[in-house]
Amino acid sequence: MTTSTAPPPTAAGAPKPSSKSDPQKHGRLAVLLLTPTFLVLALVILYPLIAAVRESLYRKQEGVDEAGFVVEGENFVGIDNFTAMFTGEAADRFWNAFFNTTFFTVTTLFLEIVIGVAMALVMHHALRGKGIVRASILVPWAIPTAVSAIMWQFIFQADGVANEVLNSQILWTTEGFQAKVAVIIADVWKTAPFVGLLVLAGLQIISNDVYEAARVDGASAWKQFWRITLPLVKPALLVAILFRGLDALRMFDLPFVMIGPRKRSVETLSMLAQEEALNLRIGPAAAYAIVLFVYVAVVAYAFVKLLGADVLGEARTRDKEAKQKMKVGPGMATV
């Protein structure tokens, strides 16, 4: 660790006011520069979240009270919205939506990972056609989900091309398990290439030497994949799974446009909350939204804590580094 002793003469202005040293140094500037972003986030995320919690404890009241006056307004109902959701008359619809949300998330994630990893491996090792693959893989990502929903609705219609290719007569976009399958196919089509891109980025930082060594040791291609590629690409994969999973948990556009609102076989929690809100049943809508929020938060927490998904990545200040700098710091700070 070099340091405060005379700077090399070559570096003309070397005794710079180095800053990277003291973690407090930029404190004030950082606060200043971060304020606008955090203000906006507080306004569009924190405030609505708090408001949603409040709304979930109220219910709109319309009727006549004991004295015969028309009552209109909001009543504090405590956790009634939640008990109604879990066990009351709305429970059946809620648990169905909860199941659909979970089912879509698990199935699409699984398929996206398998297909995405396969795509990444092909792209990584491909000798020819890299340009065209890279170009085409961005196409599903760029298409708006609502448009891809219509596109797949068209493909899956009764006399559509899917039935012709499969030589089947399935009514894909009508209520039933086939509607779930149609949604899953459409979702995986759009997102697996994206997962492929993320995994490819992870693959590209694995050094070739590792494979050389494995080959020298006589490891088969299969073994190399399981013992080297997968463990080394795991950080990138975990982050991809986390973000895709959370995205799948809030799925709305695809089932809504492709199959339609109020369709039992594909209704997700987001669809349920959105519909209740538009029907001005704000209390129950907020309760659904809170449950979804908690669900997302729990999954995210589990990923970060249990599986160690490093979402911050290179953004993280490495502790060791910081400590080293601190040691060096005071000497260098010549200003």
Partner: protein, 279 residues
């Protein structure tokens, strides 16, 4: 990178894999495009090319009664404003996260990444009530303000990645030469970061352009609907007739400009997407 000593069998397998990926990604899109160019009555035709080719579906999309120009304009206003606000606000935060050292940096980065995981419907419900009360329903701001919730974290994260990739020595040298940090930022960093900011703008714009649930919920007047919502609600002449030809043509109109931009800037966009790790 590529394995030049690949045995013949493996090479063959890789080429097949490449072809499968291209087909997988492009065939559904291709189907939308060719279906848009069929005559409306041929919508059920499943031949690989339209016969005959026709622009009738596009005429239908732009017929005055549909008002699709207006919808495209609305999308442009909402996505464009969201992108501009996001970039202006987010650049400072991104620079801070990428370049400055301060306590709670990990916390600040963590909060921004956490907000990007936020389920949109959880803010939609209270904002819908609020906007109803203050009569913002059917306005642009009712779509732009909620859109910031996903666009801002996305932009900050992507921009921070680009800032981090720039050599630190540059601004340090500038500061040694007597510029303040602010001047170094303006005169050295910003010009160099322009490509990264441009890429971030594209990614943010696409995310905002593709937004659906907010635009669907905050607007019920046809005049104010964005393109994605308008397409999903196209109705045929009779109630049950879903005008797929028109919808496919509208889908092509909404998508093709994006696809072209994405293909032109594909390398940068991939860098932005993968380094950001966020959709």
């Amino acid at each position: 990178m590529s394995d030049t000593k690949a045995p013949g069998g493996r090479r063959w397998l890789l080429n097949v894999g490449v072809i499968i990926i291209v087909i997988y990604c492009l065939v559904p899109f291709y189907w939308m495009v060719v279906s848009a160019f069929r005559r409306p009555n041929d919508a059920g035709d499943n031949s690989p090319l339209p016969s005959p080719w026709s622009l009738e579906n596009f005429d239908a999309v732009f017929s005055p009664s549909v008002g699709f120009w207006r919808s495209l304009g609305n999308s442009l206003v909402v996505a464009g404003t969201t992108t501009i606000i996001t970039l202006i606000v987010g650049t400072f935060a991104a620079y801070t996260l990428a370049r400055l050292d301060f306590r709670f940096k990990n916390v600040a980065a963590g909060i921004i990444i956490a907000t990007s995981m936020f389920p949109g419907v959880a803010l939609l419900v209270p904002l819908f009530k609020l906007f109803t009360d203050i009569e913002w329903i059917n306005t642009y701001q009712a779509m732009i303000v909620p859109s910031l919730s996903f666009a801002l974290p996305l932009a900050v994260w992507t921009l921070a990645t680009f800032f981090r990739q720039m050599p630190k020595e540059l601004e340090e040298a500038a500061m040694v030469d007597g510029l303040t940090r602010g001047q170094a930022f303006r005169k050295v960093i910003l010009p160099l970061a322009a490509p990264g900011m441009f890429t971030t703008a594209i990614i943010t714009f696409i995310a905002a352009w593709n937004e659906f649930i907010i635009a669907l919920s905050m607007v019920n007047e046809k005049e104010m609907k964005t393109a994605t919502v308008a397409i999903s609600q196209f109705t045929g002449s009779s109630g049950f007739d879903s005008p797929f030809g028109t919808k496919m043509a509208a889908g092509v109109i909404v998508t093709v400009p994006l696809v072209i931009v994405v293909l032109i800037f594909q390398r940068r966009i991939i860098a932005g997407l993968t380094a950001g790790g966020v959709k």
